[in-house]
């Protein structure tokens, strides 16, 4: 299946209650697929094309406030438009799933694949001290599996979860195994606004605290939650790291191209491993920290001008050399270029 279509099907199967979106290349297949499948007949899931990205994210805010599994998707410029709503959802501590099929920027940029929204995804994006949980699929299979995982994490931590995909994963076709249809939620959450019961206080969903003391309490609660997330939810994959003297690191589609470069390096007898973060927040800090001691250098490969490399440097904390190689503007690095960069910047540098 095509990445975007598989992801849309996964949303239905994950028992989502609602999808609100607005078309933009290269992720329009998500809303197209959902409209064509019309899951309202099958599961009761609402699919709506909003009048804009801003409207879509606020519809998600509303549905999430009612304790529903709500989701939206867009590509980079559209995700920028959603940042205000996203900050409100994070502030109000509501669960939702957001998919960003990244294209190159800044501005309207180009519709070709990119990873230039890493900072926006993992450092907040909107205003205020908040974090999204960020999952980075590298295959169509992971695009599917992460939809279910994203809803689970969103409700476990009452926090927005972003699936950071890109034009390659969204547009490519691969074999995929779909999970069984999950039931929609029947649980009534105590934080959800579903009508006041006579014997209970009203529930108010808000991100507004006029008193600084109250706002600080919210911030502290959020920070405590993020520490929990960092403790429990780190996910990553390693290849050939046992005897590695050098390390590639990359996420998403770029990690696959980099894996090819690693295979080519191994054929040449260079002891290179690959660490692929699957969660970008929480970042696999400990994994890098532990590996750093045995390594002569790390090359991060990204389709941007150097974003994840900053987190790698923080994790490694000076224990070994860290360099970045990137192509941007929708250009995709080739395995040969990546291997060459490893040889020039790390091994020979």
């Amino acid at each position: 299946m095509k990445g975007n279509e598989a992801l849309a099907e996964a949303a239905i199967r994950a028992g989502a209650d609602a999808y609100f979106g607005y078309p933009i290349t290269p992720q329009s297949e998500i809303i197209e697929y959902l409209m064509a499948e019309n899951p309202e007949e099958l599961t009761g899931m609402v699919v709506l094309q909003a009048e804009s990205e801003v409207a879509a994210i606020n519809m998600v805010y509303g549905a999430a406030g009612c304790g529903k599994r709500a989701m939206t998707s867009s590509s980079s410029p559209g995700i920028s438009l959603k940042q205000e709503g996203l900050s409100y959802i994070a502030g109000a501590e509501l669960p939702c799933v957001l998919v960003n099929v990244v294209r190159a920027g800044p501005g309207l940029g180009t519709i070709q694949p990119s990873q230039s929204d890493y900072f926006q995804a993992v450092k907040g994006g909107g205003h205020g001290d908040y974090k999204l949980i960020v999952l980075a699929p590298a295959t169509v299979q992971e695009s599917v599996d992460y939809v279910k995982l994203a809803f689970d994490l969103a409700f476990k931590y009452r926090n927005p979860v972003m699936i950071l995909s890109d034009g390659i994963i969204g547009q490519m076709m691969e074999k995929v195994e779909l999970f069984e249809q999950q039931p929609r939620l029947t649980e009534e959450f105590e934080w959800a606004t579903v009508g006041k019961k006579p014997n209970k206080d009203s529930v108010i969903v808000t991100s507004l605290q006029l008193q600084s003391e109250e706002q600080e309490k919210v911030n502290l609660r959020l920070q405590a939650k993020y520490r929990e997330v960092e403790k429990n939810e780190v996910r990553y994959e390693t290849h050939n790291c046992e005897d590695a003297e050098y390390l590639f690191t990359a996420f998403g589609s770029c990690a696959r191209i980099t894996r090819k470069a690693m295979e080519m390096a191994r054929e040449k007898g260079i002891k290179v491993g690959l660490l692929r973060p699957q969660t970008l927040y929480p970042f696999p800090v400990d994994a890098f920290h532990q590996l750093a001691g045995q390594l002569k250098g790390i090359l991060t490969v990204e389709m941007n001008a150097g974003q994840m490399v900053e987190d790698v440097k923080l994790a490694v904390n000076g224990q070994t050399k860290v360099e970045h190689f990137g192509r941007f503007g929708g250009m995709i690095p080739s395995p040969e270029e990546i291997l060459n960069a490893m040889e020039q910047k790390i091994i020979g540098g």
């Binding site: 290349t25 290269p26 180009t110 519709i111 070709q112 034009g167 390659i168 547009q171 490519m172 076709m173 691969e174 074999k175 589609s253 696959r256 191209i257 894996r259 090819k260 295979e263 929708g330 995709i332 080739s334 395995p335 040969e336």
Partner: protein, 184 residues
């Protein structure tokens, strides 16, 4: 077996669906597959291309710079991808509309007059299936029976009555393909 293929031509020649058919056929034959289209400005008119990979092993990169096989259906595609064929690899080109012959001498080169044949068959839409037939003759990586199964997956139900015609086209392609340069 690991076959990395680039298929390129004009939009409307069935370039993207050729890749899809090969990949679905690969799935039917228990192979790992990946299909990556050009979806950029090309899709909005002009040249189109897709990368199809069919392999016994899980596929790492879905995007490549060098290919085992390039199937080029117009001159701009030949200009772009002739040099991207790995030494010892295969280049298949459609004769119609080419203004020059391939220059490489270190690769296998085949040509096919698929367009003329599709006109004779009175259905130019099967053009791409003739080319697929030619490719499978030179590189028999997929069984015809699985290609037919793959076709059933790609074609919507309402076109399933055209499958015998497509099968005929594949067989025609197998007969038509001509070797221009063969390495030992």
């Amino acid at each position: 077996m690991n076959e990395e293929i680039i298929i390129a031509g004009f939009g409307g020649q069935g370039v993207l669906s050729m890749g899809q058919i090969l990949c679905y056929s690969g799935v039917m034959q228990d192979k790992e597959v990946s299909w990556m289209p050009s979806y950029g400005p090309e899709m909005r008119g002009g040249t189109a291309n897709c990368t199809a990979i069919i392999s016994d092993e899980p596929i790492s990169s879905p995007v490549l710079n060098a290919f085992d096989t390039a199937i080029v259906l117009n001159q701009p595609s030949m200009d772009k991808f002739e040099d991207a064929v790995k030494p010892g690899g295969l280049l298949i080109y459609e004769e119609n509309g080419m203004t020059r012959k391939p220059r490489r001498t270190d690769i296998n080169i085949c040509s096919i007059a698929a367009y003329d044949e599709s006109v004779k068959m009175k259905n130019t839409k099967v053009f791409n299936m003739i080319v697929i037939g030619g490719f499978l003759k030179v590189k028999p990586i997929l069984d015809l029976e699985n290609v037919i199964k793959g076709l059933k997956k790609v074609l919507p139900d309402r076109y399933h009555h055209l499958i015998p015609l497509n099968e005929e086209a594949i067989k025609k392609g197998m007969d038509l393909i001509k070797e221009e340069n063969k390495l030992n």
